[in-house]
């Protein structure tokens, strides 16, 4: 097994990824410590911050009294044991915080990316095939709107119209106030409710997911439509497509077997990047829908100079992009035989 080229490739990739993760932690650590401002001042009250004994106790508790290289080494050592330190904001282990924030974000990100791919790629193909016609112009306009409209503004308007005026969607948060979260398994309320057989909770969670998911979808749809259109257009102009047509292959066969397959490689890259962006948390949308996800957590952490939490989010985002990159690279091989490792 280990001698197969694919296994060797995978091992090498994982090795490089591990090094990159260490790099990410180092960069995050250096950057957070370069920020002017003292976490003690940001987290202790003004009276407490005047008392040397209180400040000393605080610094000792968070290990801020040691030299920076020692702090970093300690951080890495703890990291290997799965300990990301304690958040100065929530007084909980950062890992615990992330375990509750990640599923919240994942729940809206998965929905948004699936919908965006279905809609965006579909739109993009139609626009490319109908190039210069009315459908093309209409779809390009839709995508332009999707890209240009500020997401937080859209979130607020959507909330106002669909929840407040039309009552088609529930209020903010992940569940109605009277609903108890389902027994924790995955942290995804929809999945956990299904696993527990709590249909009412499932419905409530799903209803709360709808609006934030759709708002995030609109932006990503705009992006993917534009990108798919240009990728497909590029392939359509290739000689082999023209030859296939000339040979009398039906248009649909050409489109699916030749064009889409070739265009899929660049599209996949953008899908990966968009998914990464969604998973890293969309601060403003989460703030408006009172959605306790990665975006809200990162924002809170940064504004309070909560170093352990900032480091944790940095690490998480680094891992997300590395994993997505790896998955995208492997999928290239599935789509395009030329880049397959053999």
């Amino acid at each position: 097994m280990s001698s197969s080229p694919f296994a060797r490739y995978l091992l090498r990739r994982l090795g490089v990824s591990a090094l990159l993760i260490v790099g990410v932690t180092l960069v995050t650590f250096v950057l957070t410590n370069l920020v002017p401002g003292d976490p003690v001042a940001a987290n202790l009250g003004q009276r407490a911050a005047e008392n040397p004994a209180t400040v000393a106790a605080y610094r000792a508790h968070y290990g801020l009294d040691r030299p920076l290289p020692v702090q970093y080494a300690t951080y890495l050592g703890n990291l290997l044991q799965g300990d990301l330190g304690e958040s100065q904001q929530t007084h909980r282990p950062v890992l615990t915080d992330l375990q509750s924030a990640v599923p919240a974000t994942l729940e809206i990100a998965i929905g948004a990316i699936v919908l965006s791919v279905l809609i965006g790629v579909g739109f993009g193909v139609v626009a490319a095939v109908r190039r210069g016609q009315l459908a093309d112009s209409a779809l390009r306009l839709v995508s332009l709107v999707g890209i240009s409209v500020p997401t937080f503004w859209l979130a607020l308007v959507a909330f106002y119209v669909f929840s407040f005026q039309l009552d088609l969607a529930p209020g903010s948060g992940r569940l109605a106030p009277a609903t108890t979260p389902p027994p924790h398994v995955t942290g995804l309320y929809t999945a956990d409710a299904l696993l527990a057989g709590e249909w009412e909770t499932f419905g409530d969670a799903l209803a709360h997911l709808m609006l934030p998911t759709l708002v995030l979808t609109l932006y990503t749809v705009g992006l993917l439509t534009r990108f798919t259109r240009s990728a497909v257009l590029e392939v359509l102009e290739q000689d082999y497509v023209r030859s296939a047509r000339a040979k009398g292959l039906p248009g649909r066969t050409v489109l699916i077997r030749y064009v889409l397959r070739a265009a899929m490689v660049p599209i996949l890259t953008v899908v990966g990047l968009a998914f990464g962006a969604l998973l890293s948390g969309t601060v403003l949308v989460e703030e408006i829908f009172a959605w306790p996800g990665v975006g809200s957590y990162a924002y809170q952490a940064a504004s309070h100079l909560d170093l352990p939490a900032v480091m944790g989010v940095g690490l998480l985002v680094g891992i997300i992009y590395l994993v997505i990159n790896l998955v995208v690279d492997l999928l290239y091989g599935v789509i395009d035989p030329r880049v397959r490792i053999s």
């Binding site: 401002g37 008392n51 057989g197 009412e200 306790p292 309070h304």
Partner: protein
């Protein structure tokens, strides 16, 4: 190539699902209890609800709903400490000894009696943990005299102590329960995680669940035997941004919104909702650094006087919105020792021009530093700073705006590096002694590089106020101190921003309190008494 892997993953997933389904509870999914649920939306300022550690606004509100303090304040009257777990108190003539008699028959949520030992443990724990609220009891020792009497002894005269004790950080916890879960009276205490999942108090509500990032759920304490009347089976407090709060409360998704600005409130349908507006206890102020090494302009007394006379105070109130008031002193209107409105600083452009000419300062542009990303009760410091800059410019005083994120700017402020600073002060406790911070060599006085030697008369006024014990004398001494500050100090009180509490018609008793925002135990249901 991937086939085997994929099916293995599927099999694993299926196994997990089956295992979970087998031990799944099939719970109700709905809320528990039969009584009504109250939903409160607030923008969280919350780290913990461990009474000995919390010192954030949302933490104060939650803690106050679950625990009780020896003394408290009834409604919005901050001038007289009212009985809490102590039925009466006596302050010695030298203000160094406070003797408290405990109320009889009070119990914790587990039914066990509240004892003098619980009181001593709780207060010693706050002092010993060296946390955010420890300073409240600086120089205070706590001892049990007998089963119903607790004595607090202060090293210095401490007439403010009865006004400090109502602070929710000084709540009495069930010492047996807390000790059994890692609680101690020094910094080895490890009870915080426990207290963030289970409350151990004697207040009207108990903690059901807490996620400091998103929501807290309280539930009625069945063993409660105090004077409040908890009206709700459950109270859900959610972390929601102001814009979303406005929509939620109008829709009926929540019953109380705590963070709406004057602008947001003016757009609400008053037929469906009740808006309670009034000045908060925050004082937004300007200070001019008295260190000549920091700025030769701001340290010039005539220049300070010119700035005081150049500001258009009513114009600032327009920015701050309805319900805000101009404080006549650093001490806000609702606290003893504040000055009547007639004594507030006023705009005097001719006087400003004269003072500016007398100062000899010309061609200098001091930096006006402020936390640009900070809003207080919906009021943005960026907006106030811009307005101040244009008001000063109209009087011939040029300042450069120096915005920075609050986390960064706090450092400059605390280290006395700001030439002109725009900040705010909220009272730690509603007693004028809290404002000795603005005296020469006081906590904020130092940040303005303003030593006692620079203003011996103001220093004397501050010391005389601090030494007074009898309430009426204290109030008048603190007024004298405020007058001398207005005349010769580097601080300029600008605005007391408004607080707006928006409630559904079904809710009663939601009055603003500067220390704990809302007394959850007093919030009732309309029509039920």
């Amino acid at each position: 190539m991937f086939g085997a892997r994929r099916s293995a993953a599927l099999a694993a997933a299926a196994a997990v699902v089956l295992a979970v389904a087998a031990c799944g509870s099939g719970g109700s999914g709905g809320g528990s209890g039969s009584g009504p649920t109250l939903v409160i939306d607030s923008t969280f300022d919350l780290k913990t609800v461990d009474p000995g550690r919390e010192y954030e606004l949302t933490g104060q509100m939650l803690t106050h709903g679950m625990y009780e303090t020896l003394l408290t304040f009834a409604g919005d009257d901050l001038t007289t400490p009212a009985p809490g777990l102590a039925s009466s108190y006596e302050l010695s003539p030298d203000a160094k000894t406070l003797t408290l008699t405990l109320a009889q028959g009070r119990v914790f949520s587990d039914g066990s009696p509240v004892t003098a030992d619980d009181v001593v443990f709780s207060l010693q724990r706050v002092i010993g943990m060296k946390g955010n609220p420890s300073f409240l009891l600086d120089g205070v020792t706590v001892a049990k005299k007998d089963d119903t009497t607790v004595v607090l002894t202060s090293a210095e005269p401490n007439a403010a102590l009865p006004f400090i004790l109502p602070n929710p950080a000084l709540s009495v916890v069930n010492s047996k329960v807390v000790t059994a879960n890692g609680g101690t009276t020094d910094d080895t205490d490890g009870a915080e995680a426990f207290l963030n999942s289970t409350s151990a108090g004697s207040g009207p509500y108990m903690l059901k669940s807490l996620d400091v990032a998103s929501q807290a759920v309280l539930t009625k304490n069945p063993a409660y035997n105090g004077s409040a009347k908890p009206a709700y089976e459950n109270i859900v407090i959610r972390n929601v941004q102001a814009a979303t709060q406005a929509l939620n409360v109008q829709k009926g998704d929540s019953q109380i919104a705590l963070d709406l600005s004057g602008d947001q409130v003016s757009g609400l349908d008053q037929g469906e909702l009740t808006v309670t507006s009034g000045p908060s206890a925050y004082t937004i102020f300007l200070f001019l650094n008295q260190g000549a090494d920091i700025s030769t302009a701001t340290s010039n007394p005539q220049y300070v006087s010119a700035v005081k006379k150049a500001i258009d105070y009513p114009g600032l109130l327009q920015v701050a919105g309805t319900g805000s008031v101009q404080p006549a002193s650093m001490i806000p209107t609702m606290i003893a020792g504040s000055l009547p409105a007639a004594e507030a600083p006023k705009q005097d452009l001719a006087g400003a021009a004269a003072a500016l000419a007398a100062s000899g300062v010309s061609g200098q542009t001091p930096k006006l530093a402020y936390p640009s990303d900070f809003t207080l009760l919906g009021l943005s410091f960026q907006t106030i700073a811009e307005r101040l800059q244009s008001q000063l410019a109209a009087a011939g005083i040029t300042v450069d705006l120096a915005p920075a994120p609050v986390a960064t700017e706090l450092d400059n402020y605390r280290n006395g590096k700001e030439e002109i600073g725009l900040w705010y002060w909220g009272p730690d406790f509603p007693d004028p002694s809290n404002y000795l911070a603005f005296g020469p060599d006081g906590l904020i006085g130092k940040r303005a590089n303003w030593p006692a030697s620079a203003a011996p008369d103001i220093d004397a006024a501050a010391k005389a106020a601090a030494a007074a014990v009898e309430p009426a004398e204290r109030a008048s001494r603190y007024q004298d101190f405020q007058r001398s500050l207005n005349a010769g100090g580097p601080f300029i009180p600008l605005v007391q921003p408004a607080t707006n509490i928006v409630t559904a018609k079904s809710v009663t008793g939601a009055a603003y309190n500067p220390i704990w925002t809302l007394d959850l135990g007093s919030v009732g249901v309309a029509g039920e008494q």
